[in-house]
């Protein structure tokens, strides 16, 4: 390729996302206007609500922590050709396990471990069904989300219900089982989970890019016979990979319980597991972009929540979902659908393009 054509391609590659971003902004402004909000004012409130001060930051990061863990899990599975849509359910069972283990042990470490184990086990079931029985994991993981939610409803009104038996929630964790807090903001809702999430996201990226097992798992996404010829136990590795993805989501649930809520009720997830799928795709499954994508989605949610308070517009917080949708559509348009196309693997879903160090 000549230098000229390279620069031409590069300028075109930049132009398109730019146009798409402008379009997405225009669409967002129009949506705000429809709600009776001046777009400029809404944008200002949104940004201030997400990043305006230490409180805003801590609210955003509090959401971003479990979201990033789920996103890392979803991306890990997707990169290996495994369609894990079950982060929501894995998060819920992780939270339940953490509530139980935290109360029983009185310490946060068993709570986290139990959450990860439960999430991993919850993911291992559809993984086993896929590897051994050929059950499509898109369906089984998605359906298990509903099972997990019903399990939670039953447990918090039954075996795990708080002692007074008045509220559909688990017994509050003893203070000894709270996660160590980070000093940021007044809400005091930042905990050990955030550095853990960043660390594990980086670890997943390194595992996929710089280990033989990661390499072969990614190869197995498109060429399973090739990995077999390379004497790699693909099925077993896929099972473990899926379980690890579930463990990350389970950890997200455990962190949300032991770090923030101190108890489990129906509001534990609020769709974080689904937002994680969207965030992972928004990042194009590139490890380095997972954290920014999770942060963006968290900011949209915390920003719109702040908007609700400032403008007294009940229900406007759901607007965060609309904005997430706009972001996803923008990315799909900008990449001409490559970001969402799984089967043929234009280079995104199967594995990120390796870059020289």
């Amino acid at each position: 390729m000549t230098p000229r054509s390279t620069s031409r391609t590069a300028s075109r590659a930049l132009l398109r996302p730019l146009l798409v971003a402008l379009g997405a902004l225009a669409l967002t402004a129009a949506l705000f206007a429809l709600q009776g909000l001046a777009p400029a004012r809404a944008a200002e409130l949104l940004v201030r609500g997400a990043f305006g001060d230490a409180d805003a930051w801590s609210a955003t990061l509090r959401l971003a922590t479990p979201l990033l863990l789920c996103t890392a899990g979803v991306a890990l599975a997707f990169r290996c050709g495994l369609w894990n849509i079950g982060a929501e359910g894995q998060l819920l069972v992780g939270g339940l396990a953490a509530a139980w283990a935290g109360s029983a042990s009185g310490h946060w470490l068993p709570a986290l471990l139990a959450g990860a184990l439960a999430g991993g086990a919850w993911a291992a079931l559809p993984a086993w069904l896929k590897v051994r029985r050929g059950v499509p994991e898109v369906l089984s993981t998605l359906l298990l989300n509903g099972v997990a939610l019903e399990l939670l409803r039953w447990l918090v009104t039954g075996p795990l219900q708080e002692p007074t038996g008045q509220f559909p929630q688990s017994a509050p964790l003893p203070e000894s089982a709270w996660l160590p807090q980070l000093p940021l903001g007044r809400t005091g809702a930042l905990h050990l989970g955030l550095p853990l999430a960043l660390l594990l996201t980086a670890a997943c990226g390194l595992f996929l890019a710089r280990t033989r097992a990661g390499l072969l798992l990614r190869a197995g996404a498109t060429a399973p016979l090739l990995t077999k010829a390379c004497r790699f136990p693909l099925a077993r590795a896929q099972l473990l990979c899926f379980a690890a993805a579930g463990a990350l989501a389970g950890l997200a649930g455990a962190g949300a319980v032991a770090g923030v809520a101190r108890t489990v009720d129906r509001s534990l997830s609020q769709g974080l597991g689904y937002a994680a799928v969207a965030a992972a795709l928004l990042a194009g499954l590139r490890s380095a972009w997972l954290a920014p994508a999770a942060l963006l989605f968290a900011a949209l949610q915390s920003g719109t929540a702040a908007l609700q308070w400032a403008e007294n517009l009940p229900g406007i917080d759901r607007f965060g979902l609309v904005l997430q949708g706009v972001a996803i559509i923008a990315v799909v348009v900008a990449t001409r659908g490559r970001a969402l196309r799984g089967g043929t693997l234009g280079g995104r879903l199967g594995g990120e393009r390796s870059a020289p160090p």
């Binding site: 054509s5 390499l215 016979l225 693997l345 234009g346 280079g347 393009r353 020289p356």
Partner: protein, 487 residues
């Protein structure tokens, strides 16, 4: 031809550029009614661009396309269809989830969508073209040879005046190719103008009324029947005369036993006995690509045999699949990563990017992989370079046992010669090669021992063209007698 009606399709002074690169430059080419025109050229010579112009997928920057002598703008595929121009693509454009009949119906865009009516229509259509296909079969279940057959049937539905074929024999077995050529002969007699893109010089010389050779976007040679020779075509193709037909390997003293199969039975082959030793190239050829592929996979340990004994020497082995895109490479991964998939590439379970590069670079250099960088995705390479990456992974450790299945399928002459040279060199160094190929030239070029795989059984045969032809004829005659119920 006595009357000189203007040709149904003619390219006059066609130029096309992509950025700085001139894909086509002043190309003249006529497709006359009742003639077969062979188009030759290395990968990147401009063949595909020319075809895309004819199909209305691109428009020329210079020159004009004439239909029946009238300058025509083929602005869209619909225009091409209206002009009666149809195409058989090298890569299949089939809906795998639909049946044969439904795929044919899609190509014709029928008015009524009734299943029974298009199964009947498909049956008639297939019968008319002499193509043996079950209209109710799901395309995804068909082996590659039958899918190609369907592609041809599909194109014939649209190509009323001009039929373009891009390497139609690349995936076919020799007998299927012969059947296709007979069909082309018929279509030519009916007055169709045919463009045959091919890598095979002998097919062009044997079949074509006219031959055009493209090199770097220009016409390097335009010849009529009888005025070209293999040597002149090869010179026009490469600008020199490369060694396209090296002599077969000499028989050698047999080395250690690498493969021993006794009464081996698979889903689609057997029972068969087979021994392969170091320093010999045992080649299985024939028309049964699916059976060849299964046999190789069983020997490689990738598929279980049904019964029988199979002993394969432990240790490293190379497995070169004919299906590069699905089994040979992980397309989204980089070239370096694809090479590093080989077992024992790294001493530890993890590696740094520097170690990755250090492991891959010498192999990529040794096998002459041409890429912008080792970090380029394998999907972006041409077929020839993709196969070089496969060789770089599979052969770099100089394994004592090589298993290869149609390793040059769809490659151009130079890439084919390269692959053959590498296999030859490995055998000369004492490796055992078990090769299954549907390409008789390939079989003859490499075999020290040759078997014909017929109906899943092995029949030894002298590695000479006439001997193989005779063997096939005898086996086919025997099978035909058997089918009629006894001798």
């Amino acid at each position: 031809m006595s009357e000189r009606a203007p040709p149904p399709l003619a390219f006059v002074g066609i130029g096309k550029r992509f950025g700085e690169r001139r894909a086509l430059d002043g190309v003249d080419l006529e497709l006359r009614a009742g003639e077969l025109h062979a188009l030759l050229g290395e990968n990147g010579a401009g063949k595909t661009t020319l075809v895309r112009l004819a199909l209305g997928l691109l428009e020329p920057d210079e020159g004009e396309i004439r239909s029946d002598g009238v300058a025509t703008k083929i602005a869209s595929p619909a225009v091409a269809r209206a002009l009666g121009i149809g195409m058989v693509h090298q890569h299949f454009a089939l809906a795998e989830g639909l049946t044969v009949a439904e795929n044919l119906a899609l190509a014709e865009a029928p008015r009524a969508w009734r299943k029974r009516s298009f199964e009947a229509a498909a049956r008639q259509q297939l019968l008319r073209h002499g193509l043996d296909l079950d209209p109710a079969a799901r395309v995804g279940d068909l082996p590659i040879g039958l899918r190609q057959r369907l592609e041809i049937a599909k194109a014939l539905a649209q190509a009323r005046r001009v039929l373009l074929l891009d390497e139609p024999t690349a995936l076919l077995t020799p007998s299927e190719a012969e059947a296709l050529f007979a069909e082309l002969e018929q279509l030519r007699a009916r007055g169709l103008a045919i463009l045959l893109i091919t890598h095979r010089l002998e097919d062009a010389l044997r079949l074509a009324d006219r031959i055009t050779v493209l090199r770097e976007g220009r016409v390097a040679l335009a010849a009529e029947r009888g005025t070209a020779s293999a040597a002149s075509l090869a010179r026009a193709l490469f600008g020199g005369a490369p060694d396209v037909s090296a002599p077969p390997l000499p028989p050698r003293a047999a080395g250690a036993l690498r493969i021993a199969a006794r009464r081996l039975v698979g889903e689609r082959f057997g029972p068969l006995d087979l021994e392969v030793r170091g320093g010999e190239a045992v080649v299985l050829t024939g028309v049964e690509a699916e059976r060849q592929a299964e046999l190789l996979e069983v020997v490689a340990g990738l598929a279980p045999p049904r019964s029988g004994d199979l002993e394969v020497a432990p240790g490293a082995r190379a497995f070169i699949s004919g299906d590069r895109q699905r089994h040979g490479l992980a397309l989204p991964l980089s070239i370096a990563e694809n090479v590093a998939l080989a077992p024992a590439t790294f001493a530890r379970p993890w590696f740094t990017s520097r170690e990755l590069l250090a492991a891959a670079a010498p192999r990529l250099a040794r096998f002459d992989v041409r890429a912008t960088s080792p970090w380029q995705a394998a999907a972006e390479l041409s077929g020839g370079n993709q196969q070089r990456v496969v060789l770089a992974r599979e052969l770099a450790g100089d394994p004592p046992l090589l298993l290869a299945e149609n390793p040059t399928r769809g490659l151009d002459l130079q890439a084919t010669a390269f692959v053959h040279a590498q296999l030859r060199a490995a055998v000369a160094n004492g490796a055992a090669l078990l090769l299954a190929t549907s390409d008789l030239d390939e079989a003859l070029a490499l075999a020290t021992r040759l078997f014909v795989l017929f109906r899943g059984a092995l029949h030894p045969c002298a590695p000479r063209r006439e001997a193989v032809a005779e063997k096939f004829a005898a086996l086919a005659a025997g099978a035909a007698r058997g089918a009629r119920g006894g001798p």
